[in-house]
Amino acid sequence: MSTGNRAVKELASQSYQYGWVTPIESDTAPRGLNEDTIRWISAKKNEPEFLLEWRLKAYRHFMTLLQKEQLPEWANVHYPSIDFQDIIYYSAPKTKEKLNSLEEVDPELLKTYEKLGIPLGEQKRLAGVAVDAIFDSVSIATTFKEELAKYGVIFGSFSEAVQNHPELVEKYLGSVVPYTDNFYAALNAAVFSDGSFCYVPKGVRCPFELTTYFRINAQSTGQFERTLIVADEGSYVSYLEGCSAPMRDENQLHAAVVELVTLDNAEIKYSTIQNWYPGDEEGKGGIYNFVTKRGKCAGANSKISWTQVETGAAITWKYPSVILQGDNSVGEFYSVALTKGYQQADTGSKMTHMGKNTRSTIIAKTISAGHGNGTYRGLVKVMPKATNSWNFTQCDSLLLSNSCGAHTTPYVEVRNNSSHLEHEAFTSRVSEEQLFYCNQRGISLEEAHRLIINGFCKEVFKQLPFEFAVEATRLLEANLEGTVG
């Protein structure tokens, strides 16, 4: 048997570490989707009229798409059709109407987050990191709120922002991802329950890393959160999201929307470590992760940088993108996507160059193991007025089994001749020569794979804040355990 075959075994039943359920009573919407569901959610959240109207418009648009069967079909993923009437669109842990402090949060919930490694209590909370914890459809706690307020930074749940800063919500909601954008964006706009909201005022460099942790707990529910981050002129914020879900036989839908806006000279760094339940070794269960993430560099010299480490979910369908509208603006996308078992991931980025001297970089690393199928899908579009724009794209794939797949479908559309675009891609498996070289230095096959895979991902990991890079490395290794070695 060759070294490769010796090393790359079929994926054993790799256990998912976050698969438990929190025993808690929930307040849930009736199953199914109709105008009443929308009104029910909106009333529950005591929303202003403009928001209800917006939701209803989105709902009607979604129903039209559904009737015309205009579901997204272009992605290289396969799954049975979803019955949108068989989903619970809202579920929240039963708590007091209004929480005044962390002490009032159900201890079960606090325990849940502690178990996930995200302690929320005053004593234990992570230094330098403000956390918004979202459980099923609602935000249950946000840490460091007061400290952030001193800097004028607004950070907390979306629902709260709707109550306290409706003018900001109305101004920016849907300004980057309109409800007409795509099928799942329409669904999200209609039924979104909560999410995070962040506004960084002019000239402020946010002193904390902001983090939102999403946890799906209830059965048969979909999670539809909506995140909006606005960085006003000259400001900076680094934001990170993490997520997990219990192990269940059914597929659960997660259709989130994230909108980022940077004004002149502002910068947002957005990192994701995605670890939804991927399904069991036979491909049963797992989260459908259909997410629309887009940033708009509205101002000149602004920058949006996406970094994602995608290891979970049965199916991932997401393309964190940047609209480079302001002159000299910069868009970046760094991604590691791992598929194993029967996971499918169709992910990549869209960079739309509109302003002058805009620059974008795409570094996408796809790792496929077991029966996993990973697709990189990207679009670099240069509009006629984007003179001297620049893009570099690199999308590499690493194959770890002979029954996995790795696909790359990059699109390049250039309508400006002063632009410079380069695209590189390479697909291969871990070479026998590399493994033997490592072995000859006393390094075991498993360790050699670990080294080589981490090396493959290094360019992406180094974009993450330090503690999250460590977490990402650990997560990747845990996911690959039993796949190689």
Binding site: W74, P384, H407, V412, V414, N417, H420, E422, S428
Partner: protein
């Protein structure tokens, strides 16, 4: 025909005209052809009737950047041959790339012209005959191959060509034959009848361990509007080498759709260079099936576009066998408001090992109104592969330009030198020296013409 969808484009699509033309063709034309080909044509037109022209603008990935409604909406009539045409020597010289001595088979508006052909001194072991004649004399042999490599079931233009397949070229290279000199298949459209359509059909069969060079060129006499819907099928013999050069230099108003389907054989090498030097709306599908162990292919291309020209190259290399190697380099030079599309797919099937594949598309944009869309894709279902791809789009390198000027060249010359240099890599991959020189000269003249025109703009 599906008219109930109510989609607006349906109202202008002329598919019905082709059905009517087909009836008349089956009844009146080609009556002497063998029965099997009548049946094949019936099956193909039935398929075309189902497929229709791929005009949908939504979910139509294969035609994402090329809108062929202008073809679908024009009422093209089958060309009636101008077989009696004679050509003055300068035209012959131009159309034969300055090598009138090469053996050639010539078709005028789709019909074989014995007068213009020169088939008396073919290289040893090489046979070139008109397909219409061969259908009568070698019908059974052709039946073994025709429509076997070009899938009319799934591709509308192939279906349409197959429905009207009658004349074209049959090229056979005998086992072990080594032909140094190229044979030239010349499809000439006079452009003297407005809105005509022709269906050239080529079948190339290479024998075991043979080596040959085939030039398939599409030329034009007048600047007319016409539609060429060509299908070429190539079946490689084991260990054979085929250098296949396709040159399209039709009128700036011409519609040109070609489907070239190659079935590669063990140890064989298929080397192609596709040159688009003319045409208005052009789409070339090149499909190479790497179906036997140890086969290889080198697929290169060059497109020179200006005005409102639109050229779309779709290249699919399907590795269904192990130990196969493919390399692909397409380059485009775009001026004016032209639009280029490159869509490459490299597929490596499940369980296929030791595949090496490389794919590159590069575009030089000379004008700020030109558009280049490129999509070099991989579909890999196996692990023991090495695949790379690249794409680049941009304008002339300012540093290089400055360097040349610092050596005394004026702006115009420096630009011409660099533009020409951009094309060199593809031109140099042409194995035959005389043909390489001729193509180099055509490219050079064209670039000079553009640069002159650009100055007067």
């Amino acid at each position: 025909m599906n008219v109930s969808t109510g989609m607006t484009h349906r109202t202008t699509v002329q598919e019905g005209k082709y059905l009517a033309a087909f009836d008349s063709f089956q009844r009146n034309g080609a009556v002497g052809d063998p029965e099997w080909i009548h049946q094949l044509r019936e099956a193909a037109i039935a398929r075309f009737n189902v497929l229709g022209f791929p005009v949908a603008r939504r979910g139509n990935e294969e035609w994402k950047y090329t809108d062929i409604r202008p073809i679908a909406a024009t009422n093209f009539q089958p060309a009636t041959g101008s077989a009696q045409l004679t050509l003055p020597p300068p035209d012959v010289d131009r159309l034969t790339f300055g090598n009138p001595g090469w053996s050639r088979i010539v078709f005028v508006d789709g019909v074989y012209s014995q007068e213009l052909s020169a088939l008396t001194s073919l290289p040893a072991g090489v046979s070139v005959v008109s397909l219409a004649q061969a259908l009568v004399t070698h019908g059974d042999m052709i039946k073994q191959h025709m429509a076997r490599y070009a899938p009319y079931e799934s591709e509308a233009f192939t279906a349409l060509n197959t429905a009207f397949a009658h004349d074209g070229a049959l090229v056979q290279i005998a086992d072990g034959a080594i032909a140094e000199e190229p044979v030239h298949l010349l499809f000439l459209t006079t452009g003297r009848q407005q809105d005509t359509v022709t269906y050239p059909r080529v079948l190339i069969l290479t024998g075991k361990d043979s080596k040959a060079t085939v030039i398939e060129s599409y030329g034009s006499l007048d600047e007319g509007r016409y539609f060429t819907n060509a299908v070429t099928e190539v079946r490689m013999g084991s260990g054979s080498v085929l250098n296949y050069y396709k040159v399209q230099r039709q009128s700036q108003q011409a519609f040109h759709v070609s489907n070239t389907n190659v079935s590669n054989a063990s140890g064989a090498s298929f080397n192609s260079v596709n040159l688009d030097l003319g045409g208005g709306l052009v789409r070339n599908n090149l499909n190479v099936l790497m179906g036997e162990e140890g086969c290889s292919c080198v697929l290169n291309g060059l497109y020179l576009l200006n005005g409102t020209q639109h050229v779309d190259n779709q290249v699919i290399i399907d590795h269904t066998s192990s130990y196969t190697t493919a390399s692909e380099l397409y380059k485009g030079i775009l001026d004016g408001k032209s639009h280029s599309v490159f869509h490459g797919s490299i597929i490596v099937r499940k369980g296929i090992q030791k595949v090496n594949a490389n794919q590159v598309d590069k575009n030089l944009l000379l004008s700020d109104q030109a558009e280049a869309d490129t999509k070099p894709a991989f579909w890999i279902y196996s692990d023991d592969v090495k695949c790379g791809h690249g794409a680049a789009c941009g304008q002339m390198d300012e540093n290089a330009l400055f360097y040349l000027k610092s050596r005394g060249m004026d702006d115009k010359l420096a630009r011409r030198v660099l533009t020409r240099a951009f094309a060199t890599q593809v031109i140099d991959s042409i194995g035959n020296g005389a043909f390489r020189a001729a193509v180099g000269q055509i490219v050079e003249n064209k670039l000079e013409e553009w640069l002159e025109a650009g100055e007067s703009r």
